[in-house]
């Protein structure tokens, strides 16, 4: 099957235009917008909660639902970042730097319009990157063997830890914990059991979904309950009116170079496994500041619209970029992609060498759904900015029981297994403790997914290389990844010595 087979592409669009598909797409987009606007409840939580409900759907419908969520969360996450100085999702953190000052100046609508449009355009550019990669995936798949997978896993774990700035050491500790959790169960290479303590439930290790639901959704709810009150305590909703929002929509086109550059950084960083949108957004922001005219630089942090456009373009473009390693290698580009990966697997779609050749129809459905959902999310955000901001004022006494009920039902219904509920609760408490003591949680899901990949590909590399790891050093592709790993570490060391940590990512 040719990657750019027009019949397959047309079929995907026809599938998307079916009534059921559109319902799922709108549903996914709306859920994504709601979870995006609620701080802490990003796309990862939304996807994790939706998995059990997608189990009985056709794979195509499930993918459409999930694409709706993934394409829309970063868009609405900008609304609270701008209005309430609270990023709706971690990648929106950079948007607060100039978005909130704009809102304080009564230009919240302008900022939201610019953010929503930059998100939509960035998302489209990211997808174009993904489409460009589709025809050469076979070559990429054959180029990347176990030694490269091993190095990519190392790169993922290193970069995600570095992205947490001063919390680098704590982040590594969380990653190590994730690797230990991931090592529980039957080991496919040696054929032996590890840390199962004779318990049958642990034979296959901890399941990704109950762990994710607990670690992200339940822990946030415990935290919110402990704090009481509402998600947001202050904010200026009045500054949002449609006229101003529409004016803002034109800004990303006026600043088209910034929008394009943001998208390029987003897709590039997104395609690096384990790095994700937060780093992409901060890099795009930093790049916009450093390349601005000297006389304009002072305006950043005080309400420069460019400071909203650059990170928002980047954090939506990263979806397309992040899908490349997720689909072609089975290596998730972010925590959200890690959960999406489990959706694919649960629906019998094996990412990696197979998916681009055997499930091309699904890939095109995913691409089409991402495009439409991205545009739809931008339009809905523009039209309903003031209303969705009010969601953050729902009292925790109402919000927490509802989300917890969804979490438990979701976890149980996956396999009708009560132990999954216990797992969810246990990891909810663990996640809360990590939050409470300032451990960045982002490296945990990546370690769970990348840990086993790292171990298996290590053993495979030894097997292929006659008992040595020489293959890590004698192929151009592995050398490039090694250089990237070294570059990331050097970049971190340089910055942690010379500059202030202000403005670094605040992933938690």
């Amino acid at each position: 099957m040719e990657a750019l087979d027009l019949a397959v592409i047309a079929e995907a669009w026809l599938k998307l235009l079916e009534f059921d598909s559109m319902i799922y797409l709108v549903l996914g987009t709306v859920i994504g917008l709601i979870f995006g606007v609620l701080p802490g409840l990003g796309g990862t939580t939304a996807l994790a909660l939706l998995i059990p409900f997608s189990m009985n759907m056709e794979p195509g419908d499930a993918i459409i639902l999930m694409a709706g969520v993934m394409a829309s969360t970063p868009t609405s996450g900008a609304v609270t970042a701008i209005l309430l100085n609270t990023p709706g999702t971690a990648p929106n953190a950079a948007t607060t730097l100039d978005g909130y000052p704009l809102a304080q100046q009564g230009k919240g609508g302008l900022a939201i319009g610019a953010a929503a449009t930059a998100s939509g355009v960035g998302g489209l550019l990211g997808v174009i990157f993904l489409i460009a990669m589709v025809p050469i995936t076979r070559e990429i798949v054959l180029m990347f063997a176990p030694p490269e997978f091993f190095l990519l896993a190392v790169l993922g774990l290193v970069t995600v830890s570095l992205s947490t700035g001063k919390k680098f050491v704590k982040s590594l500790m969380v990653g190590l914990f994730g690797v230990i959790i991931a090592s529980v169960g039957y080991h496919e290479v040696t054929g032996e059991e590890r840390f199962t303590f004779g318990v049958d439930y642990l034979w296959d290790g901890f399941k990704l979904v109950p762990v994710m639901i607990g670690f992200f959704a339940v822990s946030e709810m415990i935290n919110l309950w402990a704090k009481r009150g509402t998600v947001s305590k202050s904010g200026d909703i009045e500054s949002v009116n449609l006229k101003q929002v529409l004016q803002g929509c034109l800004e990303p086109f006026k600043q088209w170079k910034i929008t394009l550059r943001g998208a390029a950084i987003g897709t590039g960083v997104g395609a690096l496994p384990g790095v994700g949108g937060t780093v992409a957004a901060f890099m795009a922001y930093t790049f916009a500041v450093t390349t601005a005219k000297p006389e304009d630089r002072d305006s950043f942090g005080k309400g420069n619209i460019i400071g909203v456009i650059a990170p928002e373009s980047a954090n939506n473009a990263k979806e397309g970029g992040a899908l490349v390693p997720t689909l072609a290698f089975g290596i998730p580009g972010s925590a959200e992609m890690a959960v999406f990966l489990s959706v694919l697997i649960l629906h019998g779609l094996t990412p990696g060498p197979t998916i681009m050749t055997e499930s091309l129809d699904i890939i095109w459905i995913l691409i089409a759904a991402t495009v439409v959902a991205g545009v739809m999310a931008s339009v809905i955000t523009i039209l309903s900015a003031s209303s969705i901001a009010k969601l953050t004022f729902v009292d925790s006494r109402t919000l927490v029981p509802i989300v917890l009920a969804f979490a438990m039902i979701g976890s149980y219904s996956l396999d009708n297994e009560i132990y999954d509920v216990f797992t969810t609760l246990a990891f909810g408490v663990i996640g809360f403790i990590f939050m409470r003591f300032g451990f960045p949680r982002i490296s945990f899901p990546l370690a769970i997914v990348l840990g086993p990949l790292m171990e298996t590909s290590y053993f495979q590399s030894l097997g292929i290389g006659d008992g040595t790891l020489s293959l890590l050093f004698d192929r151009p592709q592995s050398i490039i990844i090694l250089v990237l790993i070294a570059g990331c570490i050097l970049y971190y060391l340089k910055n942690s010595v010379g500059s202030s940590p202000k403005g670094r990512s605040k992933v938690s």
Binding site: E188, W203, L346, G348, T350, T354
Partner: protein, 325 residues
Amino acid sequence: MRFLTALVALTIGFVSPAQAAFPEKNITIVIPYGPGGGFDTLTRKLAPYVEEYFAKAAGKNYNKIKVVPKNMPGASGKKAAVYTSKQKPDGHTVQIFNIPGHGLPYIRGDKDAGYDIESYSWLNRVGGDNYVVIVSKEGPYKKLDDLLNKPTDLKIPEQGPGSTSNMANRITWDTFKKGGEYIYGYKSSRAYSTAVLRGDGDVTMLASGSAKRYNKGGDFRILAHWADEIDPAFPDAVNGNDVGHPELHNLGLLRMIAGPAGMSDELVTEWNKALAYAVNHPDIQAWSAKTGNPVKAYDSAAKTKEVLMQNLGYFKQFKDVFAKK
């Protein structure tokens, strides 16, 4: 009137006890693996036709009885096998088994597997296949002898110890006294065949149906087909007769359906017929021909058990081979 009703009920019950009692609720076919694989696909494909057969038998409950495939992945199929063994032998829960995969404890003589493969009520075969030896077309191996003459051990990408294809590989290379170095950890047959294509290893083995599907682009060369008749899709292949080892044709994998131990003879017979009805349905036969998923059923449950034990008996000869890591 009440007397008449009772008499009619009694007569129906007396004449056809199995049909009156079964099926009285939905039927579950347990799939020991996750969605999307070969076992899942075949079971989901067969389920509506099994339902069609039983719905007729159910009479007044015609529209109420459903045959529900249920995925229960875990512990390489062990979780489902243990679950099924603990269900009531009333015919409402059965399972599709992977043979010889599920028979590994029997083959090795492990006593603590949690289930006994011999004890289930064996109902019918639904599918099965035999093996091929597969290499990359661009690699140095043009015929089986090239592999056997390689001065060093063969490198063989594989899923893991205990997988069905790993058993096929070990028996094949042991037969030719050729050493193999196994590279484990590839998640699926597609993944380890791609590994061969990429040059991670020299050779691996696939079920012939999978080999046909994966070789649509002509990337592979199939050097041997362990079957009495070589499939015309494999023009470069030899079989066991050609290399003096016809016994390798026993290296088959079977997809069989069984219920918990102690199902009544009537239930076993009904199930045998239902599965034969589904497998021989023209829709299933057409699907099988189109997709290269071989299907086959027997006309008696006794024959099913006989073939099962034959297969396991063949693998049991190689008990020591499987003890090797």
